[in-house]
Symmetry: none
Subunit: 538 residues, 2 copies
């Protein structure tokens, strides 16, 4: 029998205290709906007493029929100069008309004294009265015991008394907060265990911050010691170093510990990777490729030893099945890796090669040589594929166009804010020469526009593709003159309605490097469309 | 008495198995020297048997006098078809002539069988013979027990037998690897404790991967259970989700657990933030702002409650003193804080301003606006200084030249390997017009050459300066068209015999962004030489 752990997501509240996050009401609604689909039990929408964005959120979310998530409003215990009944903050929480509320109070005597200038006894009464008042208005009231672990170390008897009063007042879950994020997992385990012994009838929760990079471990340690609620955020966003990352806590609870815990409704875990990306998108943060479970690199194998083992049996180097969290395995091509990488790559593209075929060795040498020049094939799978297909030409790839010449001109006059960018391109397609010119926002964009124009008349589907991302990296330490004559690597990500692909170019000349990546990208689009029946995916 | 924990950094080996890291020999040397300054005990330089970059690293690092770090070479146990004595991989390790070596072998019977097709007994002999052979060639030999935790759960007796044979063969530290990163901290603690009971005389190490976001917690759990060596990488880079992040492990060991452990020489911990940035820079990865201890947001307070408490007493919301790891507190961003920043910056450059002067407010607004466009003034202090000096024009800065026009032409013909790059520049200096042209390796280099030529006739000292580094970053999330029309930031580092300086340019046009940074760099050189008496430093 799995023990049910209640997930309490605070992406919309503590998460939005991340330095680089700024959410408006529609953003908050979007995230809340997506979290509900995933199956999160409680969604903390914000602090109704503090700003109009949050007030609007609580009003509008009532227009949606959520599947199972309960919405929670956050706030503090009543102000020392008010009673609970006339405190505007507590009234705002009640007015938010949510299923649940969480209010925080000081559980550390020193904090009560230094931050609020309150004596310990008055602080206890404030906590009791605030919870008792809210319990009349809101079905479930959670007490966030701020600085609990620091408070317990400082004065355990007082910290326990805080919990006791909160429990007596009707607090449904007592959430032990590691507000400053300085507590280690063994301390969390010991303190949660001690609290359970003292207050066996109370339900406990954990709210961990990641200042020591152990917020996930602290959350798991608390669950193992008996906590039933875990607070955290998607992707671990939040004040300072962020909160416990629910996108890691969830799969650990669901997949590890021999099935001791459950936290999502059946069949939802596979949405995890998609939900994480969605939240990245709405919070406007670049996704973190090394993010556990849901990151692009989480199941990417680069080391040659790993690759050859994974080709035999994926579980040899994977701790879970990537698909169980909606992610997938990737095998990367690099100079570290060997012929087995090439074989497995070719297999993905529908070619069955043997590791000992001369073409594999030839390809490996070419890949190694180009990688040592700075071609980043791990990032640019479409360029590898084209290289592979060109080597395997007899098996069916062709060049779609041939460059005759290109020119790019930048000119800036005295009073111009920016230079004028103009490119001309001359290409040959099946004996016909096309010569076009275009302007653009910068030299690469002009070249892109001109090449696209030249090819569109032969291949109208070129118009379906868009360039989505453009990355430039100066490679140091290669054999160049350094400074402005350094080698440059360009990565271009392109996409159409069906898929996305990345191509690479390298040169000391950024225009040339961009040309290589652009030309590969358009060739890939044309090739892909011709071979779509082969069942290729991105 | 603090227990000494030996740090073993594998940024250069396992770290370079990160999907987005690609290091050459000079990069590896730079990182190794910086890690030595920090006080890391062992630096794993690479896998000499696998690629020429690593072979070159081991050769060149011998030319440096390291302070205390020992260099270690990595590799596998001998191939089943060889003996230890005739195994090319083990010979390559010996030929690297390092102080230490780490070799990995299978500690899980299932892995030996499925990945290497070896029976368990033969695997034990291979491990024993490989270590015994290397011990004759290298002072310290560490055994990386691959998949140890999985192996122990599968067949504890066999996993222990692997360690016993490695110990008998002379392995100095038996490193327990959580290769797939699927183990949780309580399991690490229990298994390390059990191993210590079985092999009380052996020294143990831990090598954790971050696939469950608990690699730091696992490393600490192993130390608490008695491990003496911790393997990890700076910033947690590495295969898949990365390795245990030493930039978090180090301050936890040094500052937490009531002084039970030490891992760096006295007085080095304050370098941590700078070393982390340096490694980000050389590995060419964007720094992660929420990174614990060393990230830009690690001590940034945004929530209103936090900010007002922190202003009373920083320790209320900070688990350690930021300065202890070389970081600093940031309070986000009140107008007051902004102005005091400018006053303190101007003071560094020799100007004494008052916070209430209108010029300070004007400058703050301009800096804020340009920062929101992507100018990275934290990296480019010379550009900030010029901005400040231009605002303070009456106090003595002048423009040294005025642009009339520039042109850059790239042209590539059918059979050219690279385009031809040519630039012309027309500038005015004190009423005289100079018009020059130059070619170059790429468009920016051509522009650099032409501008330098134009200015040299007026200011011969321009010939003393060199461009040392050139960085390009495509900025996402700004309001652009995306793709090849994205905004680009260029940072140029220049130097002469006395100092080094960094300037910045931002535009959607890479040529324009480069022009801004180039023009600022040359202006800075000329300004600096005129004001050298003011006692400026770099």
């Amino acid at each position: 029998m799995r023990r049910q752990i209640h997930l309490y997501d605070t992406t919309l509240r503590d998460g939005s205290q991340s330095e680089d996050i700024n959410l408006n009401t529609p953003d908050k609604l979007k995230i809340a709906l997506r979290l509900d689909e995933l199956g999160i039990a409680y969604i903390e929408g914000g602090w109704p007493g503090s700003n109009p964005v949050d007030v609007a959120f609580f009003k509008e979310i009532r227009n949606y029929n959520l599947k199972q998530a309960k919405i929670s409003a956050f706030g503090s215990t009543h102000h020392p100069s008010h009673t609970a009944e006339n405190d505007p903050n507590l009234k705002a929480i009640a007015a938010a008309r949510t299923d649940a509320a969480a209010i925080f109070g000081k559980s550390c005597e020193r904090h009560a004294r230094e931050a609020l200038r309150l004596d310990g006894r008055r602080n206890l009464d404030i906590i009791h009265d605030s919870i008792a008042f809210l319990k009349k208005q809101v079905a479930e009231v959670f007490f966030d015991a701020e600085h609990f672990f620091d408070g317990y170390r400082h004065n355990a008897a007082y910290a326990l008394e805080v919990l006791r009063r909160a429990h007596e007042a009707g607090g449904d879950v007592l959430v032990l907060c590691d507000t400053n994020g300085g507590t280690l997992p063994h301390e969390v385990h010991d303190i949660v265990t001690a609290v359970r012994e003292q207050l066996p009838e109370a339900k406990l929760g954990i709210h961990a911050h990641n200042d020591c990079e152990v917020a996930v471990a602290n959350s798991i340690a608390a669950v193992q010691a008996g906590a039933v609620q875990v607070q955290g955020t998607m992707n671990g966003v939040g004040e300072r170093c962020g909160n416990a990352n629910l996108s890691s806590v969830i799969p650990i609870l669901e997949l590890k510990s021999a099935g001791a815990y459950a936290c999502l409704p059946e069949g939802r875990l596979q949405q995890l990777t998609a939900v994480s990306s969605y939240v990245s998108e709405v919070t406007n943060l670049p996704p973190f490729s090394r993010q556990p479970f849901v990151g692009r690199s989480a199941f990417a194998h680069k080391g040659g030893v790993h690759v050859s083992a994974v080709n035999r049996n994926a579980t040899l180097y994977e701790h879970i099945t990537p698909e169980s969290v909606g992610n997938h395995q990737r095998v990367l091509i690099t100079e570290l890796a060997g012929r087995s990488n090439i074989v497995s790559l070719a297999r993905r593209f529908g070619f069955h090669l043997d590791k000992d075929e001369p073409v594999v060795k030839g390809l490996m040498n070419e890949l190694k040589k180009k990688a040592s020049l700075g071609y980043d094939y791990a990032a640019a799978e479409a360029s590898v594929e084209l290289l592979l297909l060109r080597k395997l030409a007899r098996r069916g790839v062709r060049e779609f166009f041939k460059l005759i010449q290109f020119r790019v001109l930048e000119s800036k006059q005295e009073n111009d804010l920016e230079p004028m960018s103009e490119a001309s391109v001359m290409v040959e397609v099946e004996g016909i020469i096309e010569h076009t010119a275009a302007t653009g926002r910068g030299p690469v964009n002009a070249l892109d526009n001109a090449l696209r124009k030249a090819l569109s008349s032969f291949y109208p589907r070129i118009r379906e593709m868009r360039l989505l991302d453009f990355k430039v990296r100066v490679l140091t330490g290669t054999e160049t003159d350094g400074g402005t004559a350094s080698t440059v690597r360009v990565l271009i990500e392109s996409g159409d309605a069906d898929s996305r692909w990345v191509t690479v170019g390298v040169s000391y000349n950024i225009i040339e490097a961009s040309w290589q990546a652009l030309a590969d990208s358009m060739t890939y689009k044309l090739y892909k469309d011709e071979h779509v029946q082969r069942g290729m995916t991105d």
